[in-house]
Assembly symmetry: C2
Homo-oligomer: 307 residues x 2
Amino acid sequence: MSVLVVGSVALDTVKTPFGEKKGILGGSAVHASVSSSFFSQTIVVGPVGEDFPAEHTDFLKSRNITNKLQIIKGRTFRWSGYYEFDMNQAHTLDTELNVLSAFNPEIGDEIKKTPFVFLANLDPEIQLKVLDQLDQPRLVAADTMDFWIKSKREALHEVIKRVDYVLMNEGEVRMFMETPNIPLAARRLLKLGAKAVIIKQGEHGALLFTDNSHFNAPSYPQEVFRDPTGAGDSFAGGFIGYLARTGDLSEGNIRRAVIVGSVMASFNIEDFSLDRMRRLKPHEIAERFDEFRRFSEFEAFSLINWV
Amino acid sequence: MSVLVVGSVALDTVKTPFGEKKGILGGSAVHASVSSSFFSQTIVVGPVGEDFPAEHTDFLKSRNITNKLQIIKGRTFRWSGYYEFDMNQAHTLDTELNVLSAFNPEIGDEIKKTPFVFLANLDPEIQLKVLDQLDQPRLVAADTMDFWIKSKREALHEVIKRVDYVLMNEGEVRMFMETPNIPLAARRLLKLGAKAVIIKQGEHGALLFTDNSHFNAPSYPQEVFRDPTGAGDSFAGGFIGYLARTGDLSEGNIRRAVIVGSVMASFNIEDFSLDRMRRLKPHEIAERFDEFRRFSEFEAFSLINWV
């Protein structure tokens, strides 16, 4: 089954302890759709300016992604930032919204029935506009960021009520639900109406909470780590792309999808922009998934004549 | 087989968002030996002052712990501190070393052949004095803290060379090995001579690194969380107590021991001091171990006709 991704398209300037790159391809919709495209036919919707380089459009085409980018008069959204030594947090130097501020998503008739939908990080009011246009999707997942938690809390509540999966990072869910206790924050979020919440913990893995289950996905012992930009979107793209590929929404398969998301994020951060994804091969994905299993499995407790 | 624990004995004054307790039982040797005592015959060595309450000695006796505490003229070591809302870090208000500064561990002939030894957090020079007295232990694990990393780096290097398992928390191993990258820090630590390193990540679980393997132990979705004091020592006590109980040092069993450690730490933090451990039952330990399995297991990757 196919996947629809709606989000931002960006030209990023990123500095990490491993280098600085100017005007490189980025944006939540790009990272998520490229990751999803390894598993399922993927459609991308997002705003680009008239200056958006043809080479980037060509790259999306090379990944067999259906290009529904909306070309808007003006310049493409630009983000500039840096990461310090521990690369745990992005520090924004400059944000030029440009065409992003004029983005009014149009989900055409030919794509509004797409069964799997990922609403990548965007103004929750824009995410609601997308939800209004969808025609009975099978599963919708939505991401957000601290900026919207602070500035558009009510719209974000509305998004959460209307989607199946909410993705947030640890700091965001703590801020949003006003408790440092992650399991408690997750339960509060579920009470707002989401069916499940996935909490991304960066180098510490990911957690999945539903009303009656909990899953802890291990982290990857990442020694090659050059640029964290797009990790969360690569996670989401892998997660939803894998679910769409298999069409199986059982608990066991959703757990697998969380691992696939973790695998895709772990590749994405190995290089700047989408550079690692450009040369990523499916067998590498399957091998890394096996690694996740090997370094997290353990046998049952068995003490004989204990107590 | 039996376990020898050497470390501090303290009377703690602790404030967390869930209350304040004055002069409660604590110390690295106490938390570790009580945790270990659920699995193996445990011997505790550490310094106490003449003021050490008999009720605490009685408690150790009730856990069937062999009491080799050294009574030294003066007052028992006292620590006073608090934890903020997220309880991630202890803030020290006051430290009265008292008899701890005069502690010269004597490992008598009757206990120097103990096969499993845990050197809980102490001045590494004191840990070396213990190592000098041991007679062919089968496995020695050692813990430390940031204070010794800063002040006694050389002695700590020497301890690491001479023990099998080094336990550190995430922040400590980063500081000690001068890199924010945990897998890299772990590899550097192994090069110093330890056979294995266990990195405690608090609410994010624990990692085990050896030269040729890696294990990621999941975190526990902890909703009841009142006082983090002693979590690391409860972990270590459970880890070594379980290994001594089984006598099995295979990779698979060491992984189980890391989970047992995580289980014991998760109980310890549910109440102040040793209060949760006082009422803990073995069947609860086995049940929580099963929970750790249930919320971290996932099946193999299996995409048919992929790529």
